[in-house]
Structure formats: structure tokens, C-alpha cells
């Protein structure tokens, strides 16, 4: 530990958080007690790390969060997904439970389900001093961090922020190149840029499509249906008609007019499951596509090729 016990004690006194009981315990066990108290910290390791790097402290520094244990706890969820082994130590230290139970209040929040949270259950919070564990299975317990306010709003906010950071981690897996940037702001910027670039790509490709098709009338004969299928790599070769029909039923009408049932009827007349039949359906589709774009105008897209 970087900070000495006495220094921390002084800080505690300044903040008027200390009960004489706590002082006694601090005085007697010293470092061991503090170590045990450390294991009580929740899953946010960032704060703990910032705490570790402190060399001096005073009432004016702002990363006191995570410094000193609070007398109340507010369980979010059982600390299972913590990579740090402190969480495991937390579960294993029963001795800790015995001592700190007396000082801690547990705030219970009734929740509808575990992910949805504590926000909705604000009205059901009550302070109880218990030494027992969770009584009802649908309560959510969130453990407060050291140096943090224990009123219901900030706890709920912390729970909400954790939810958001969890979801941002999921987003991080999806967006490529997000691993290098650390911190929420940078990651969010990356995500925003990615979405913008995807939308620009869609626009670009639609421009390309609008230009490319008029020139292709001469190429219709060359392009066989099997080639067309191969362009969608990963597509199953036999597109089953049931899936197509299911899609049509779900979205009965297209937004720009009535559905072109001639295409569907052509599919229906062919037999199911035969490869050449499905290829002929693609053929009709692609021919419809080519016939749709007839124009004489030449756009500036030639330069882009």
C-alpha cells in the first residue's frame, strides 16, 4: 500500500465518517484489516487503481472514490464476472463478513429482473442493518464503493453507469479497431465515425448501383444465373421458397407500391428444391433488375471506376 494507515485515518476523521468502533479496529489490526476491507470493493477496478497511485491526499482531491470503505453496501449483482481475484477473495473471506456486518447497512432494492434494475425500484428501498444475506431472491444488492455517497440516487446512477459501460464493451467487440483506444470518449468517437462511414458507404454504393445498371444491358446474356449466385458468397445455392414466402407474408406490401407478384408466381410454378429451378428464379430476378434501369444519361461515375 502506498498510503500509510495513519494518514488514511486522519482523512477519515476529517470526513467525519469514522465510528469509534472502526477506529479501534483500524488501530488494532492495521494493515491486515485494511487489506480485508480492500477485498470488499466492487467490480470497478479502475477506481481502485487510481487509488493506488496516490502519494498524498487531502480533502481537495477528487479521486477519493474507492479509498475508504463505506458503511453501507448496495449490491449490484454477485461479483462473478470480475477478472480480479479480489472478488474471489471476497467470497472466501467469511471472517470479513462477521466484522463488517455490524458496521454496514444493506440497502435492498426490489427489482423486476436483474438486468433492468434498480432504477425502477427506488421506491422500495429501505435501510436495514442485517447480518444476513439476501432474503428475497428478487432484490438486487449493490455494494457501494469506498468514499462514495450512499443515498439512493447516486447508487442508482452508479448502477446505470455500469449498465452503460457493459453495453459499451459489447459495442467494442463489434466495432473493429476499438480495442486500441481506451476510455469512453475515444471509443464513442470511434463508434460514431464507424456508423458515419457505414452510412456513407451505403450512399456510395447506391450511387454506383444507379449508374452501373444502365450500361449492363449488353451484358445480360453473358451473365448466367450461377455466376450471380456466386456473388453472394455464403448464400446457400438453393434458396428455399418457404423463406421467401414467409418474408412476403410478413411484409405484405412494399413501401413504394404493390408487390411485384409476377416474380413470386414464377417461383411458385417451379418445383421445390431443384437447383436449376432456383437458379431460374434468380435469373428472372436479375433480369427484372437489369430491365429496370434504362437511361441514356451518363453520370460522372465513370471516373470513379
Amino acid at each position: 500500500m502506498d498510503l500509510s494507515v495513519l494518514d488514511r485515518l486522519k482523512w477519515l476523521q476529517q470526513q467525519q465518517l469514522v465510528s469509534p468502533e472502526f477506529l479501534q479496529i483500524i488501530g488494532s489490526d492495521g494493515r491486515e484489516e485494511l487489506k480485508r476491507v480492500e477485498t470488499y470493493l466492487g467490480n470497478n477496478n479502475d477506481e481502485l487503481q487510481s487509488f493506488r497511485h496516490f502519494q498524498e491526499f487531502g480533502p481537495d482531491y477528487d479521486t477519493i472514490d474507492g479509498c475508504i470503505s463505506r458503511t453501507s453496501s448496495f449490491h449490484m449483482e454477485p461479483v462473478k464476472n470480475n477478472e480480479d481475484n479480489r472478488a474471489i477473495a471476497l467470497h472466501n473471506k467469511r471472517k470479513l463478513e462477521g466484522k463488517t456486518e455490524q458496521r454496514e447497512k444493506k440497502k435492498k432494492i426490489k427489482a423486476e429482473d436483474e438486468t433492468e434494475s434498480s432504477m425502477k425500484g427506488k421506491s422500495n428501498m429501505s435501510n436495514t442493518e442485517t447480518s444476513s444475506e439476501i432474503q428475497k431472491p428478487d432484490y438486487i444488492h449493490v455494494r457501494a464503493r469506498r468514499g462514495e455517497a450512499t443515498d439512493r440516487h447516486s447508487l442508482a446512477e452508479r448502477a446505470r453507469r455500469e449498465k452503460i459501460s457493459k453495453k459499451m464493451k459489447c459495442l467494442q467487440d463489434i466495432v473493429p479497431g476499438c480495442n486500441k483506444v481506451t476510455g469512453k470518449a475515444g471509443m464513442l468517437d470511434e463508434i460514431i465515425n464507424y456508423v458515419q462511414s457505414l452510412q456513407q458507404q451505403v450512399e456510395f454504393l447506391s450511387m454506383k448501383l444507379s449508374v452501373i445498371n444502365p450500361e449492363l444491358e449488353s451484358h445480360i446474356d453473358e451473365l448466367s444465373a450461377k455466376q450471380f449466385q456466386a456473388y453472394f458468397t455464403g448464400l446457400p445455392e438453393a434458396v428455399s421458397k418457404q423463406s421467401m414466402m414467409a418474408d412476403f407474408r410478413y411484409f405484405p406490401l412494399h413501401q413504394q407500391g404493390s408487390l411485384d407478384y409476377s416474380v413470386i408466381n414464377a417461383n411458385q410454378t417451379t418445383s421445390l428444391g431443384a437447383k436449376d429451378q432456383t437458379s431460374s428464379s434468380w435469373e428472372t430476378n436479375s433480369q427484372c433488375l437489369y430491365n429496370s434501369f434504362r437511361t441514356d444519361s451518363v453520370s460522372n461515375f465513370f471516373s470513379l471506376k
Binding site: 470518449a185 452501373i212 456473388y231 418474408d247 406490401l253
Partner: protein, 160 residues
């Protein structure tokens, strides 16, 4: 494309579903007789882009996602006999705006970026930040799928 997220379900259907919907919409464009005599290329481009987005919204799950619902609603402004929106129990709107007012105090860094995201993702205006993140994840997956489909199409149709 199955999702690996355990917390959020962001499953997106396979590429062929997107392809089918897109080709369908493109073939429907021709019934409108647009392309015989378009006034400008821009007009055609916009129509194709709109068709791409709408087909993507349909392929990705119709009205079961907030962003797709907002997209479809935007596309069918006047004549809404086309898409059926399931009547879900809606929260009262004043609640959403009150959440918004408080959210400015919460982690302003995150909220600024969330505001920008709301402008990008369709339907983002009425969502809370956590819900916005889910929708963004699903939206990104669908967009990338649509881009792949269109890219394949363009490559296939381009002269060799």
C-alpha cells in the same frame, strides 16, 4: 451472423435475407417507371438509397427493433397501410423527456457522444442511453451486412 454477446441479443439474419429484400425492392423500383426518364441522377440515387435502407430494416427484423421501426415509419409517412406496427404499451412521453433532462448531469462525456449517436441512428431521439447502445450495436451489424450485399451486387454487375 450469430452474436457473441451474452448480455445483449444482437442476432442478425444471414446475408441472403438482406439480399432477397434488397433485390425485391430494386425490382419494385422498376414498376414505378422511374428509370425510363429520370430527371436527375440524384433522384435515382436517392430512391435507391431509400430502398436500401427500407429493405435493410425489413430484413433485420421488421418492427421488432426500435431503429427499424423508426426507419419504416419515416419511409411511409403518408400511407401507413403498408407496414403494420404492433401496438405496444408505450411509456408516457413526459417520462422520457424528464430522463433526458437529468441525463445531462450524468457523465457529460458519455451524454455528448450519445447525443451525436442519436442523430445518426434512426429513432434515437426517444431512447435512453443504455437502450441507445443496444440499438446502435444491432444497427451497426445490419448496416455492415447491407454494405456487404450491395458490394457483392456492384461487383457482380460491374463490367469485367
Amino acid at each position: 451472423m450469430a452474436s457473441a454477446d451474452k448480455t445483449i441479443n444482437t442476432d442478425v439474419p444471414e446475408k441472403d435475407v438482406f439480399a432477397i429484400h434488397f433485390l425485391q425492392s430494386l425490382s419494385n423500383l422498376r414498376t414505378q417507371n422511374l428509370f425510363n426518364s429520370p430527371d436527375t441522377t440524384n433522384y435515382r440515387v436517392r430512391k435507391i438509397k431509400k430502398a436500401a435502407y427500407v429493405s435493410m430494416a425489413r430484413a433485420a427484423g421488421g418492427t421488432s427493433r426500435l431503429w427499424s421501426r423508426a426507419l419504416l415509419r419515416r419511409a411511409t409517412k403518408g400511407n401507413n397501410k403498408i407496414v403494420r406496427f404492433p401496438r405496444k404499451k408505450r411509456k408516457v412521453t413526459w417520462k422520457i423527456s424528464s430522463k433526458r433532462r437529468r441525463s445531462d448531469q450524468r457523465a457529460p462525456v458519455v451524454e455528448e457522444a450519445a447525443e451525436r449517436l442519436r442523430n445518426l441512428v434512426p429513432g434515437g431521439g426517444g431512447m435512453e442511453t443504455s437502450k441507445l447502445m443496444e440499438e446502435t450495436a444491432h444497427y451497426i451489424k445490419c448496416l455492415s451486412m447491407q454494405v456487404k450485399v450491395m458490394q457483392c451486387l456492384v461487383d457482380g454487375l460491374s463490367p469485367k
